[in-house]
């Protein structure tokens, strides 16, 4: 029934997406629709195109073909409206950068601010609230590198809360995070899901997926499966799709 236009009741709708780097087909004919109020795990081996998918959504690579809609708008319009939050991989951040926890969270508000991004009182309150929600209110003056791995992740979650983003993209959020922090991050993600966010998480940690995700996309440069977690992690399915065991 739906024609070319992306439907507004999907947090993310990717249609016919192909991404190429010269001769390399990183993604081919990818179709993914993510509902709101769902956590979706994106699983695939190294080089299967997970980061390429994120980069295409973020407008950092130009797709060879296809359409990407976010809440019924183009990806750029949705990003300008502050609907998309991206939680970077641990390695891509300069942890020695002279910036405080509070200032990082404040960057979540930049889309709502004027050309100089001068914060208003309402923005300061939103930042304080977000930090309280992730349990970092006491650490707001710390330099960003003076935090544990789990706390660092929560800073960026606080930023997406302050931003009031409704589509969260997380690239490998649990690398270098211990089990206790992982549990508190997952609890936060579930809160955000229940408040109506769509969440897409790339991960290698198959064992953690049942706890984390409502549904799973199995990716190997194309979508090989998209459905309920239990079905995706069925050993027969994984062996068929990847030739590996779920015992990770």
């Amino acid at each position: 029934m739906t024609t070319g236009a992306a439907r507004a009741d999907f947090a993310l709708s990717v249609r016919d997406l192909s991404v190429r780097y010269g001769p390399v087909h990183a993604l081919a004919d990818v179709d993914i629709e993510l509902g709101v109020g769902r956590v979706t795990a994106l699983i695939g081996m190294n080089g299967s195109g997970k980061s390429s998918l994120f980069n295409a959504i973020m407008g950092r690579v130009r797709p060879a073909s296809g359409e990407i809609g976010v809440f019924g708008q183009s990806s750029l319009a949705a990003r300008r409206a502050g609907l998309v939050a991206y939680l970077p991989q641990q390695e891509s951040i300069d942890w020695d950068f002279p910036i405080s926890v509070r200032q990082v969270v404040m960057t979540g508000r930049f889309g709502m601010l004027g050309p100089t991004r001068r914060p208003r009182a309402i923005d300061r309150e939103a930042v304080v609230d977000a930090l309280r929600r992730v349990g970092l209110a006491d650490l707001e003056e710390r330099q960003i590198g003076e935090l544990s791995g789990g706390q660092r992740k929560r800073v960026f979650l606080a930023r997406s809360i302050a931003q009031q983003a409704r589509l969260l993209l997380l690239d490998e959020p649990f690398a270098g995070v211990d089990k206790a922090s992982e549990a508190s991050i997952i609890a936060l993600l579930h809160e955000l899901r229940d408040s109506g966010c769509g969440i897409l998480i790339s991960t290698h940690d198959l064992a953690g997926v049942p706890e984390l995700a409502d549904e799973v996309v199995l990716l190997r440069n194309r979508v090989l499966f998209h459905g309920p977690t239990a079905e995706a992690l069925d050993p027969a399915m994984l062996t068929r799709v990847f030739g590996l065991e779920a015992s990770a």
């Binding site: 973020m58 407008g59 950092r60 750029l76 990003r79 300008r80 409206a81 502050g82 998309v84 939050a85 991206y86 970077p88 891509s92 951040i93 300069d94 950068f97 002279p98 910036i99 405080s100 200032q103 990082v104 960057t107 979540g108 930049f110 889309g111 050309p115 100089t116 991004r117 001068r118 330099q143 930023r159 931003q163 993209l169």
Partner: protein
């Protein structure tokens, strides 16, 4: 003492040198905070050398020096970007090839033109002999660069810290990088009047690196870089007057000395402070 301080300023050439050096040094110091955080120090080196043919051509054609310098500075940035986008050559190699070639082009042009242009002045600065039109160019361009940098400072800091988030909220990061590189070209144009092409890169790196040793907040880093560089410029100018030594050399040397002080005694990474702290912890 007062007399000692006032004596040099009685000379018009010294007070003009003071003005040009301060404007150039402060513009460079502000920009340097982003350059050292993004890791673009080498770009400062590249752009400053690449403007040589532009300066030479300006002198030959009788243009304001800023026009030729800016064309070649911006052209070098575009060439480096082009080489990187179309080949797999690493960034430092692309930068090195482009700027040394342009610098060499400048040397050839100057060697083939009858000598009103003094290569020494272009390379090492001639701040004691700046003309009125030079001063006007420096002040106007410096003011424009500083105003734009401060106006966009929060976006530039976000760009330096987390480009992915800037993309995620729809900020045009390509445009920010163009803005920053364009301002780099402008700033180089200003600074080469003060210290010459060879030493511009010091003004573009040292203040930011020094301030970074002293604080954990970017906004304070900007202030500290400006204060340190202003103090170093003044000290350097007086030193050059009383020791009758190279002006650009003295200013940059004073900045280097400030870096050493911050390195030894700074609260953040100071080696002396850390050693004292470590001893206290052992004895406590």
């Amino acid at each position: 003492m007062i007399e000692w301080l006032l004596e040099p300023l009685q000379f018009a050439f010294m007070s003009r040198a003071m003005l040009v050096t301060l404007v150039a040094a402060i513009t460079c110091a502000i920009l340097s905070c982003w350059l050292v955080q993004i890791g673009w120090s080498l770009m400062g080196d590249a752009v400053s050398h690449a403007v040589l043919p532009g300066v030479a051509v300006s002198y030959i054609l009788g243009w304001p020096f800023a026009i030729g310098a800016f064309i070649f500075g911006a052209g070098a940035v575009a060439l480096i970007g082009g080489v990187r986008a179309t080949t797999k050559i690493k960034a430092d190699a692309a930068i090195g090839v482009v700027f040394t070639s342009l610098f060499a082009l400048g040397l050839v042009i100057i060697s083939k033109t009858p000598s009103q242009t003094d290569l020494g002045h272009i390379l090492f600065g001639n701040v004691l002999g700046v003309s009125d039109s030079d001063i006007l160019q420096v002040v106007v361009i410096g003011a424009i660069a500083v105003a734009l940098l401060l106006f966009k400072r929060r976006d530039l800091t976000l760009y330096a810290f987390d480009r992915g988030h800037a993309d995620a909220i729809g900020i045009n990061t390509k445009w920010l990088s163009v803005l920053l590189l364009g301002l780099l070209a402008l700033t180089v144009v200003v600074a080469l009047q003060a210290v010459g092409i060879i030493l511009v890169v010091a003004m573009l790196i040292t203040p930011g690196a020094t301030a970074y040793l002293l604080t954990k907040r970017f906004d304070r880093m900007l202030w500290l870089a400006v204060l340190i560089t202003a103090a170093a410029s003044i000290v350097g100018l007086y030193a050059s007057y009383y020791f009758d030594a190279s002006t650009g050399g003295c200013v940059v040397l004073a900045q280097g000395a400030a870096f050493v002080l911050a390195y030894l005694f700074g609260p953040r990474g100071g080696v002396v402070v850390n050693a004292v702290r470590a001893r206290r912890e052992v004895t406590a």
